[in-house]
Symmetry: C2
Subunit: 324 residues, 2 copies
């Protein structure tokens, strides 16, 4: 059995960045670095950048792979943990059955663990973040898309094929538009950062006025959730409305989670969650108005505490929890 006192080398394989870190069993980040994902440059280049990142981190701390508790990869996509594949990933276009485990093993003679990034973030927040000591919680990541992770009885709930937690792909508008996933009216296409940017763009194209047009210097195709937030913080009416609408949808998703899971806590992380109360306040109000009394009273809806590191930290937690 590997010592719990050796660090885990954790990798967060995201749509924008590949982040690597050495993390202790107390969740402490001992070293960290990143490179850009640049998925458009192709799979091989991207895997090369991941391996270089691992190398740099190992040499920085003068460590050999056998001096690690293990390696652990959190990836934005559906994981086949048995075969060690990322089977598909909405934010890593062109990824189909990528043998990430084999790629790492062939270089370092180490079998890395593989976990979905939202599941990892749920674990990270449960062990060392907002959910410390909370036995039943749902973690929601709101960014380009919406993902989720479920902690039940203090453990990550993965389902029978390891794919549980796809909370962003819950239909809440059965007559709504088609989602990329093939389903209809998913929470993700109504409440994600992408949804906010699209909605703001649509309204401005229809002739509504907004300071956003000036913020993006007339290039409305450059509107993002961040620019919408920036405009909203400056008091822009359209931006405030767009965020409030998305937050209401997010609240409807949370009502479903509250009625089904009766959880102690819903933690909201991911890029868009940086909007903070702008997003959480309306969502909380919807839950109080619409969910059953008992679960509405029980659930605390809070922001994540580990920020961009929740996936990395969670990947490490996942590795420490395995028997090796």
């Amino acid at each position: 059995m590997k010592s719990q006192f050796l660090p885990v080398l954790a990798i967060d394989l995201g749509g924008t960045k590949i982040r690597t870190a050495l993390i202790s069993n107390k969740g402490k980040i001992m070293a960290k670095e990143y490179s850009l994902t640049l998925a458009s440059e192709g799979l091989e280049a991207m895997m090369g950048r991941m391996l270089s990142g691992i190398d740099r981190l190992l040499s920085l701390k003068n460590l050999a792979p056998f001096q690690l508790h293990g390696m652990s990869i959190a990836a934005a996509g559906a994981i086949d943990s048995e075969k060690g594949l990322v089977t598909s990933s909405p934010n890593l276009p062109g990824w189909h059955d990528v043998p990430v485990r084999d790629i790492v093993r062939s270089k370092y003679k180490v079998d890395p663990f593989l976990i979905n990034d939202a599941s990892a973030a749920a674990l990270g927040e449960h062990e060392f973040g907002a959910g410390k000591g909370v036995n039943n919680l749902i973690y929601l990541t709101v960014g380009t898309g919406i993902g989720g992770g479920i902690i039940i009885d203090g453990k990550l709930y993965c389902g029978v094929s390891g794919s549980a937690g796809e909370i962003g792909h819950m239909t809440i508008d059965v007559n709504g538009t088609r989602c990329n996933c093939g389903n209809t009216g998913c929470l993700e296409i109504l409440a994600s950062g992408t949804a906010m940017a699209k909605e703001a763009t649509r309204r401005i194209k229809q002739g509504e006025g907004s300071s956003l047009t000036k913020i993006v210097e007339g290039k409305i195709e450059n509107i993002t959730a961040e620019t919408v937030e920036f405009a909203a913080r400056g008091g822009d009416y359209l931006a405030l409305e767009v965020i409030s609408k998305a937050a209401t949808y997010l609240g409807v998703g949370m009502v479903n989670l509250a009625n089904i899971f009766n959880p102690e806590m819903i933690i909201v992380g991911g890029g868009v969650a940086k909007m903070g109360e702008l997003l959480l306040e309306p969502a909380r109000r919807v839950v109080q108005e619409r969910a059953f009394k008992l679960p509405a009273k029980a659930v605390r809806i809070v922001p994540a505490q580990l920020g961009d590191d929740s996936g990395l930290v969670g990947a490490a937690v996942f590795a420490f929890q395995q028997k090796i």
Copy 2:
């Protein structure tokens, strides 16, 4: 500790019937009887009928309360198990904080267990019905309303305040009509037996032809899910469409459950589930079309096996699982 070889006296307190049974730890029903609920006659009369039912069953088998492993009540409503109350019940109008436990205790000097009826049915089906040996499953009861029970890691999942499993009150049509629960576009108002009867009635009132009109002898206010089923089995187009539409909504609810829980099985019980494949076939198709591949492939959608007894049997299972 009470012997596991004594039977449990189980009570199913439903909107239509009060059913009582003596049940062994192998799930065998040794004696069973029922009376009508007649909730409209008031609380006291109804509790009187429940107590008489218990008395008849005890005297039939010549048993005293101390010769039972315990008593266990499954009730259609929200349970406060700490205080022993049925706090509210959609199908038992006028019920608010009814001290069912005290009522039973004061007569028999026995503290009965209390459990929500859909949760009980989930337990019953998991131990002795369609879900035997299945570790992760969702039980859905489709009748007047839609309820649910969740089995995770072989155990009933209750949530932090014991109210988990309100699957019927998941919004799937955010722009839809208001539900009695205060939420909007709930699965229950789109796919329950009540929803089917309402939809058929609405369409006939608007002038559409259907054999249903003849079946209810012109009294279209008498249309129920049962008459809709009867008409559908006779090939009635409108009835078939109404069922197919409700089944599609039910399928959408199951897509959400599949994506979120990635369960091994979804079991469908309750009065309307007697429609069998008429209901399950379209629902299964929707799941295959819209859910993520892994959970769609993994989930088996099957009818309940214990019929009207799943709640009774589950109440007994619940009692046998408690430490007493």
